[in-house]
Point group: C2
DNA sequence: CGGGCAACCTAACGACCGTATGGTGGTCGG
DNA sequence: CCGACCACCATACGGTCGTTAGGTTGCCCG
């Protein structure tokens, strides 16, 4: 069996698509794996697919990894680390809770749009990881959700958000609308990431804010 | 090989877990398939898994189906038909666009909460279907999104929604927040489907409505 | 009481999966 | 110029996958 697939024109040692140093290949491997997981899903993707695109044999991948699962873990881990850092930074910035909420949503959406493929893999294939490794990435709590929930709760405490909204549900609503963008955003579409981010942020802020707070915000913009 | 798995205590013709008439078994098959796809994903699930839970052998499934893909198609097709009908009915009901938007969101969320598993399979595994069969289900347009987008646009035309919101993005935002519930709703959680639906609907309405329209709505409730 | 059909079973097919093991060519420091 | 080592190749294993073809049972109808 000529390594499962590939014509394998007898033993002329294969076309040998350039040898590369380890670090460079590793980065390339992660990129290719991300793309393949995006296109076929984790279970649907095979190491063969990935190796093919790298111009090597699937067995050779084990020079870089211990198992297929390692690849998914690495891909997801990387994008989550980045995204979570971006969101936390925005949430901890200056200003009143509504301002920070708006900035956080925008940062989150813009990051998702600009890292569409890894984000999609993260959101779609996270549950393909065994529980232990999943929690190694997420931490034990619901990190993302918590950021939005806390910002809404804070706004509520300062009288900027309507008292009848449940911060928990509000946080999940925001998370849903922002995490949905990977399903419809297209770089060649009619809207830029910034425009979309601004729209989603504005809707969310209007969704939770009191009428008074909204009036105050418009006045501040006008000033 | 004793049909791949199962101890198979020699040939005593297997425990024979009750024979059932076709229609009943077919319903049971769909239910089991839905559950298994939910737990393992379409690619991760095997016909063996499904057959095991039905107490039959995987080959016997082909008495009911032509291929594994048929199962996914049937499952997704059913839940989509139901859900879309519910949403369209609510969108076509009486009242001004904001009222109808609110009712539509509530109907959508309540339906999703009460059909959590099929909904999850629909949203998660839809893209596992080949394009042709996917469009057979969805129709060629973006049906769900269109309903929400049109309601927002209608509200805008009547001066009930803020002119600076993009109905397209607003529709997708609403779709995102409502389609996200399958990821966090638990029947044994602190909130009922109705409460969650009401919260999400209220946030969405506040997210797009003008200040005047909101005042008018509160007055109407008070009356 | 016998024939037929519905609802399965039995058994196997070829393909492909992730993974292990040992080899092998080129490159580079000494 | 030589040996070591890096980045792969070659090959194969055991297993599982979806799918097929033909058999077997029990119930129903006449």
């Amino acid at each position: 069996m000529a390594q499962d697939r590939r014509p394998a024109g007898r033993s002329e040692r294969r076309a040998a698509g350039e040898r590369k140093p380890r670090e460079e290949r590793w980065a390339q491997l992660l990129e290719v794996a991300t793309q393949v997981f995006y296109e076929k899903g984790y279970d649907g993707a095979s190491l063969q697919d990935i190796a093919d695109r790298l111009g090597m044999l699937k067995g050779s991948l084990y020079y870089y990894i211990q198992s297929k699962e390692d690849l998914l873990f690495e891909v997801i881990s990387e994008v989550h680390r980045e995204g979570y850092a971006v969101v936390r930074a925005a949430a901890a910035s200056e200003g009143d809770p509504l301002d920070r909420l708006e900035r956080t949503i925008r940062a989150h959406v813009e990051h998702a749009c600009r890292n569409l493929v890894p984000t999609a893999v993260f959101l779609h294939e996270l549950e393909a990881l065994p529980t232990a490794r999943r929690e190694e990435i997420l931490g034990s709590g619901h990190a993302y959700q918590g950021v939005f929930r806390d910002l809404v709760a804070e706004a509520q405490n300062e009288g900027l958000a309507r008292p009848d909204v449940d911060p928990r549900v509000a946080g999940l609503s925001i998370l849903g609308s922002t995490n949905w963008v990977y399903r419809w955003f297209r770089a060649d579409g009619p809207s830029t990431p910034e425009e979309i981010a601004a729209q989603l942020a504005a809707m969310a802020v209007h969704g939770v804010a009191t009428a008074d707070a909204l009036v105050a915000r418009e006045a501040a913009v006008g000033a």
